[in-house]
């Protein structure tokens, strides 16, 4: 055991103790607390919790590496994973808040007054959250694998146990405040190495816009090496792929059940608007830094690692080769490592760069703790989504409406354990890089919930049949496109698996509108409920008239 291992482990354990301490302090006692944390969270803190929920292993561990390898084309992830907050905060969250239901399936079930629609939505929630959690487990495998210098597969197994235990006993009330703590840890862990690298390379401690010269300089280095320039657009895919991926990530953001459920924890439509704005500030701190991280990492690899004698490579290389994610092959046998002979997986760039840049054992340990916070916090939110969809939407509302609260909590916990184990099995042999797996979850959300929610909130004529048909067609088209693009090599306009959501969304919108219009309109009561969402809580739409609720509680109609 070297000192790096000890320091990393101690930092990880301390942060864990902090999260668990907060979770135990707030142990969820009632179901309403377990799922939505009692709705008393102020917007700034709710923004941080949304940020922690949002920034998963994909953002923390995977994104900078993806940008490093794709150059400009990787920036679709930066714009896509943030631009969706406008959809979410302006088009959906306040309206869903006014409608006042716990989860997305519940909104869909009650908005369309259909148990079948609720069932389909619950199944979609489970598929989306499940796909997403595969990426998280795969991320925790990278971190734990490096920590113990073991294969990432065994790391994944350890991650499964941790996440199952953590999510099953937290509940969301624990998780809201735990996630505020997790946000703080993960953002510090991300910013410290970027700031240090920025100081090393540009003597400017503020990385966000200081790395322009590095980007430009890398373009020159690339030209000398005869590879395509780092910042040149569309070298790794077509412009259509870039646009489709960005669209998929944006709409997926607005359709992700575990993110939307966060907005039920705020008190009002106004608080929902502010929570969304704060969330994007906190998320932005990491997203502004990721392209800088990517640029610095690539610059260091280009100038300090490539061109070295293989026999003289520093010790960090061996620990990463052990995880199976770094490859060094002296193909031309000259004993020197050329740029082309270095293969580095997207998923290890963030974790490996502090070591490559020699930032010291505390920084490296801190990054490991931050990465675990990112993977755990999102996995926690995802597992709550899966358990509430199963225990609440499917089991309680459909299978056994007489179930006691205790029984429902138990079913919820069992579903968390089962889902984590299954996702862990798939993550043992991850079907793609973390960002890619997570992008599939977004594509499915884009093809199913985004059209259903947007039409459900903004179009009173949308009915149950149209929405169910839309979700099913969107799901089928998206899954079909992902599989045929990934395994069958089938593409349209060069759009690959990660951009599949655009086709799902088009199909779902069209199906929803056509089927809704050719079947009976929803009842007047449901249509009124949709018009009611145009106004703040105090304004109530009833029988074609709008009323202002000014006081006395007997007026409150619910």
């Amino acid at each position: 055991m070297d000192s790096q291992f000890l320091v990393s482990l101690v930092i990880i354990l301390c942060t864990f103790a902090l999260y668990i301490g907060i979770a135990v302090f707030n142990t969820a006692k009632q179901t309403s607390d377990f799922y939505v944390a009692g709705r008393g969270v102020p917007p700034i803190f709710n923004g941080m919790a949304i940020g922690a929920d949002w920034m998963s292993a994909a953002s923390f561990i995977g994104m900078a590496g993806t940008i490093m390898l794709l150059g400009y084309d990787g920036l679709a992830y930066i714009m896509g994973w943030t631009g969706g907050y406008l959809f979410l905060t302006i088009l959906l969250a306040p309206q869903l808040r006014k409608f006042g239901r716990f989860t997305v399936p519940e909104f869909i079930g009650d908005r369309f007054n259909s148990k079948a629609a609720l069932k389909i939505a619950a199944i979609c929630t489970i598929i989306i959250s499940f796909t997403y959690s595969i990426g998280q487990l795969s991320g925790s495998g990278v971190v734990i694998g490096r920590l113990f210098e073991i294969d990432a597969k065994i790391g994944t197994l350890i991650g499964v146990v941790l996440i199952a235990f953590y999510a099953a006993f937290g509940g969301m009330k624990g998780i809201t405040w735990t996630q505020v703590a997790q946000y703080v840890i993960l953002i510090i862990a991300y910013l410290v190495p970027v700031i240090f690298m920025s100081l090393q390379l540009t003597s400017n401690p503020i990385p966000w816009i200081s790395y322009g010269e590095i980007v430009t300089k890398m373009g020159e280095l690339d030209r000398e090496l005869g590879i395509s320039e780092y910042f040149a657009p569309f070298t790794n895919g077509t412009k259509w792929q870039f646009l489709a991926l960005m669209f998929t990530l944006m709409c997926g953001t607005a359709g992700l059940p575990h993110v939307i459920v966060r907005f039920y924890t705020v008190g009002t439509m106004k608080a929902a608007r502010w929570s969304g704005a704060w969330a994007l500030v906190f998320i932005g701190l990491l997203y502004f830094s990721a392209p800088a991280y990517a640029a610095f990492a690539r610059f260091i690899l280009l100038t300090e690692v490539a061109g070295k004698k293989i026999a003289e490579l520093p010790s960090w290389t061996q620990s990463w080769i052990d995880t199976g994610k770094l490859g060094i092959a002296d193909t031309n046998g000259d004993g020197i490592l050329q740029w082309a002979e270095l293969t580095i997986a997207n998923d290890i760039v963030v974790m490996a760069t502090p070591e490559i840049a020699n930032l010291g054992i505390f920084v490296i340990g801190l990054v490991a703790a931050g990465a675990m916070a990112a993977a755990l916090s999102t996995a926690g939110g995802l597992m709550i989504s899966i358990s509430s969809s199963f225990a609440h939407d499917i089991y309680y509302r459909i299978i056994n409406p007489q179930a006691s609260e205790r029984k429902r909590l138990l079913i919820g916990r069992i579903s968390i354990v089962v889902a984590t184990l299954l996702a862990g099995l798939i993550a043992l042999n991850p079907p793609g890089a973390i960002t890619q797996i997570v992008a599939w979850a977004f594509a499915i959300a884009t093809g199913t919930f985004f059209p259903a929610l947007v039409l459900g909130v903004w179009w009173k004529r949308a009915n149950a049949k149209g929405t169910m048909a839309g979700m099913l067609v969107g799901l089928a088209v998206t899954l079909l496109y992902i599989f045929s693009a990934k395994y069958g090599g089938f593409t349209i306009l060069g759009i690959i698996d990660t951009g599949a959501g655009i086709f799902g969304a088009i199909a779902a919108f069209a199906t929803n509108i056509i089927v809704s219009l050719s079947t009976r309109a929803p009842s007047q009561e449901l249509q009124d409920a949709v018009i009611n969402l145009r106004y703040p809580e105090q304004m109530i739409y009833k029988d074609g008239e709008v009323y202002l609720n000014e006081g006395s509680s007997k007026d409150i109609k619910n």
Binding site: T82, F231, K270, L280, Y287, F288, Y535, M539, E545
Partner: protein
Amino acid sequence: MKKIDKEVADAYFREKNRYMFVYFALWFLVSYVMVAFADSLTEIQFLGFPFHYFMGAFGALFTFIVLLFVNAIVGDKIDKKYGIDDERNKEIGSKNMIDH
């Protein structure tokens, strides 16, 4: 409960939608339009970056954040203009929850 003129209520909705339209127009401009013209922006330098790269890595996200705060502030202003009392909203909101 006081009845509000349908015209006033419609004006509230229209005013919010007008702003929403502006936000999404700007959102579209800084993301999709910039990407669509990325090839022709590579030669322009901005703060040391090629301009298309700057927009993707910084400019678009920065605009999104500003738009969301503008939306929150303007939303509050519109509510106030139409006499919406946030305390009252909170009270209604806290009761607007289905029992389980």
